[in-house]
Structure formats: structure tokens, C-alpha cells
Symmetry: C2
Subunit: 322 residues, 2 copies
Amino acid sequence: MVRIVALNEIQEALKAIDPRREIIPAIQDGFVAYSQGRVVVPPVGELTFDDPKGETHIKYGYIKRDEVFVIKIASGFHGNLKLGIPTCHGLMLIFSQKTGELKCVLLDEGYLTQVRTAAAGAVVAKFFAPRNIRRVGVFGTGIQGRMQVEYLTYVMDIPEVMVWGLNQDEVDGYRADMEPKGFKILTTLDAEDIASTCHFIVTATPSCLPLLAAAQIRQGTHITAMGSDTVDKQELDPAIARKADRFIVDSLSQGLLRGEMYHALRSGLITAEKPIELGAAIADKKRHRASDEEITVVDLTGVAVHDIQIAKLVWAAIEKKG
Amino acid sequence: MVRIVALNEIQEALKAIDPRREIIPAIQDGFVAYSQGRVVVPPVGELTFDDPKGETHIKYGYIKRDEVFVIKIASGFHGNLKLGIPTCHGLMLIFSQKTGELKCVLLDEGYLTQVRTAAAGAVVAKFFAPRNIRRVGVFGTGIQGRMQVEYLTYVMDIPEVMVWGLNQDEVDGYRADMEPKGFKILTTLDAEDIASTCHFIVTATPSCLPLLAAAQIRQGTHITAMGSDTVDKQELDPAIARKADRFIVDSLSQGLLRGEMYHALRSGLITAEKPIELGAAIADKKRHRASDEEITVVDLTGVAVHDIQIAKLVWAAIEKKG
């Protein structure tokens, strides 16, 4: 029997899944399995549309000797804003790896991608955040700009957050939503305010131009760059990758084609020897942050293994509920 | 609102769709649109499994300026037979080409692929069958061996069918199922019986070795070869492609990689100039069968445009029912 699960049921099921003890460890395990070659992830399938502009990605794969495989379909149609409907759509499909049978359709409309990406940010913080963060800096006022902060609370204390946005309305909206959740929010339209006061920075924008220059990055700063996942998008000056003591990416093979690693290689400011794959870094203590003076940069472009991991968790929770 | 449609509802909806006036013309239009470059069909996505052996294919695409795009997932796990469950599984997903929204989930378990493939066989017969067929020859006693014959009745008279199988049980089972449907069925285990008595032949097997040799093919014979859709599978002696007056394939680009065209090119018995794409042949009367003396061979490997076409028809029928 195929189980069809609507978004509200998925959100309900997530309440029964402990982010600290279940989601974040599952995503961490996914990074490690991926870097150990225990995950089969073919190249992303893609459809693009001209009128109106839109794109659809198909990410799929499986962990070897696991019970299931997962296919995720995610679309982005930015013109939808004018129509008053969400820009992102999609679903996840869970199949048996033993029989090919469809087991579960998660009609998540892109929400589980947000969850697994936020959890990936928390995994990064576990291994690369400096100690005693006084203020977290966030570029981007969208869903990820919010969820990254919420998930960071599971692995570190966040006394206050400074958010950067394109205009005052954006950052005011962010503050209005986040303060009732118990966060102390400062706002700015000047990237330098974040660079000069925050040692833990998350970039979560669709920017195609660097938001931060290498000269702005102080000793002891960590940056999680999770906005760029295409050839065009870029959030960091490529010289930051050179300046960093540790430059980590979620996928070396994807980093050749997209994200901050792609731009840094293309600029010639680093060579392909510099980036370390996150799962390999997690598995090797010598590759974790070693002092509060290091500059660390982690570039996340998104790998299907996280879709597999979050889909499995949600499905298990739904099955358990009966 | 996403519409979720189970297999029994799909089969019910199909009863309201006229094969002659709706399904076969839609598949024919799909071939033409494909050959005219009006269809976007990226390379097939693929996952393979070792233990147990299995494979999953993702076929997807859209007709330009259409309302929807379609993603089809189809799996084959042959070890399922031992478990008493079907070997083929899968579903089709229909999305809006304007907004990316998921519109309909057709839980067809591979059935619509069978329907569109059978309809493709009927389209082929319209343009390449000799006149006055006395007996249709069928290689293969599976679902396609049956459905091809059923769909052929929509475009030609079939006085009798001779079926070839690997053993007497198989062909007896075929006869037992098909005679109650009004077909006169003869059976054989010798391919020569079909080659020497049938001018219209369908091959619908998973064979990896030729079932027919070039010397067996008489003047005036038509062959629809629809079993081979991979590098390994092959149903015809490659010399048949050379001997044929017309050698037609559903997709020139896929034919470079799989099916009878692939084997014929690889053998060096034909050059890449010989195969004509089916949609181009349909659109040009000079490329249809011109006499009852010609030998014609049509090699079908399956193109996503047919999945698009059948999914749209079924969805429209379901929406109409309300």
C-alpha cells in the first residue's frame, strides 16, 4: 500500500522527531556515508522553462544496503509571486530498494528540503563553529535565513542574531517573525556590520554577486555558505576560499560544477587540492576546527543523500503513528 | 489540489477514452512533435541495484508551449516473481508547466507504459502494415504480446494470430487468455513458422539474442520490434536492418545507444544514414510503406513523449468525471 502524506501531516510528523537526537545525526551520517562512497547519487536531472521562467530538478539515489531509495522533485518558478502562489513546489517519493515498490509519497511542497538544509547547517556548526559565539550573522531574510538560526540552537547558544537584507522591510519582517520565537534580532543593510561583529556567519541568499569581500573576514570567523547551488549563484568573494584555513564542501564532485568552490577554482585563487569534503572532515578529528583563531568556510550545494535521510525519518514517524 | 489516482481508477478512466479516436492519435501526434523538435526530453535518469538485481528509470519532459510536464518513474525487479509480486512498478507525475505545481499523481504501477507502447504499435501499423494481413505473428507471451494485438485491432483486421514462446506452457497460457477475447490463436515454438506465414510480425520479448535471421524474412514483411530498449537486448539479426527497404526508429538519438538500430550500426551492416525517425516518416507520405512487396522494420525503444501524451489523456478523463 502506498502511503500518501500531505504537507500538514508531514509537519505534524516532524513534531515527533527530535532534531537534536534524530534529524541532525541522520544528516551527519548522510554526509559521512556520502564521502565514504556508500551512497549512489546520479547526476541531477533538470528541466528548464522559458515562458514563464522556471526550473525543475530531480535528485535521487540511495545508500547502499539500505531498505529504500528516494526520488525528490523540486521546482522553482519565481513568477509565481505575481500570482500569489509559492515559488517552490515538489515532493519526495520513497521506494523499496528490494522490490522497486512505491512505499510513500511525501507531498512536502519543498518543505523537507528546507528542514534538511537547516539541519546540515547545524551539522556544520558542530564541527566548525568557534566557541562562545556572541552574535550570529545571517545574510538573507527568507525561509532558510530563519530555519538555519532555529536549527543552530540545537547545537549552540545564540545570544543574538544580526540579519542583513536588501531593504528595511525585509529585515523588519524577519525581526517581527523571529522575536516571538525568543530570538534577539538586530538588523542591518550593511554587510560590514556583520563581518565586523559576528564570528559565525550564515549566507542564505540567491545572490549572484559576492556579499562579503576577503578583506572583511576577521580571524576566527566561520562562514556557512548555503545559498549558492548553481553555476550563476555566488555569495562569497573567491579570495575568501584562499584566505580560509579550512575550506570544506558538501560534495567535491558538485563543487566542480557549482557553488562557491566552483567560483574559487575558476578564479584560480585556490587549487582543487584545497577543498575537503564535509563527510571526510567530520570523520577525521584533525580536520575539525582546531582553534578559535582559524577562518573556516563550508560551502553547501545540497546532496540527495540528505533528501534520502529526511524522507526516511518522516516516513518512519508516520508509520509509527499508524 | 493534487489529484491522487490509483490503478483501478486509471483503468476505469481509460474505459472512457476511445483508443481509435483519442489514444492512438495522441501517440501519433507525440511521435511527430518529437521528430519536429517540439519536445524537451533530457537523457533518461537511471538507478541500478545489485542485491537483489533491479533497475529504475526516470523519463521526463514536456512538449513546448503545452500546459504540463510529466515525470515517469518505472522500476523492474525480476526477482519479485519469487516473492509473488509484480516485477514492474512505477508512477507518473503531472506538473504545471506554468507554475511547477504538482497537479496529478497517477499510481499506474507501469500500466500506462503498457498502454502507450501498445498504442505506438498501432500507429506503426497505420503507416507500415501491408494490406490484407491474413495472420499476425507475435514473439512474446507477456503483457505487450497481448496488448499489441488488442491495439492492432483498432487499425486493421486480424483474422488470426500465431504466437511464439519459449515453451508450450507459455503459448498455451497466451491462447487461453486471448481466445475468450475473440482472437483465433495458433501457437508455435519455432520462429520459422511465423517468418514463413506472417507478413505482420511483432517482437515483444526481453531477448538478448536475435529471434529472426535475415534469410527468413520474406518480401512484403513488416516487423515492429518493441522488446529491445537497452544495450543488451536484441530481437533481430542486424542483417534484417540492411535487408529492409525501410528501417524506421522512434528516436534517432536513442537508437545510437540502444535497441535494434544500435546493434545494426555496431555490426556495420547499416550506416547512420539508413534509419528514418518515425515522426518524420509519419509526416512525409513518401516515407510510408509504398507497396505490399516492401520489407519494413520499425524499432521502438520508447520515448518520454508518449508518457506525456497518455498521462495527459488519463488526467483529462479523470478531471472530466469530476
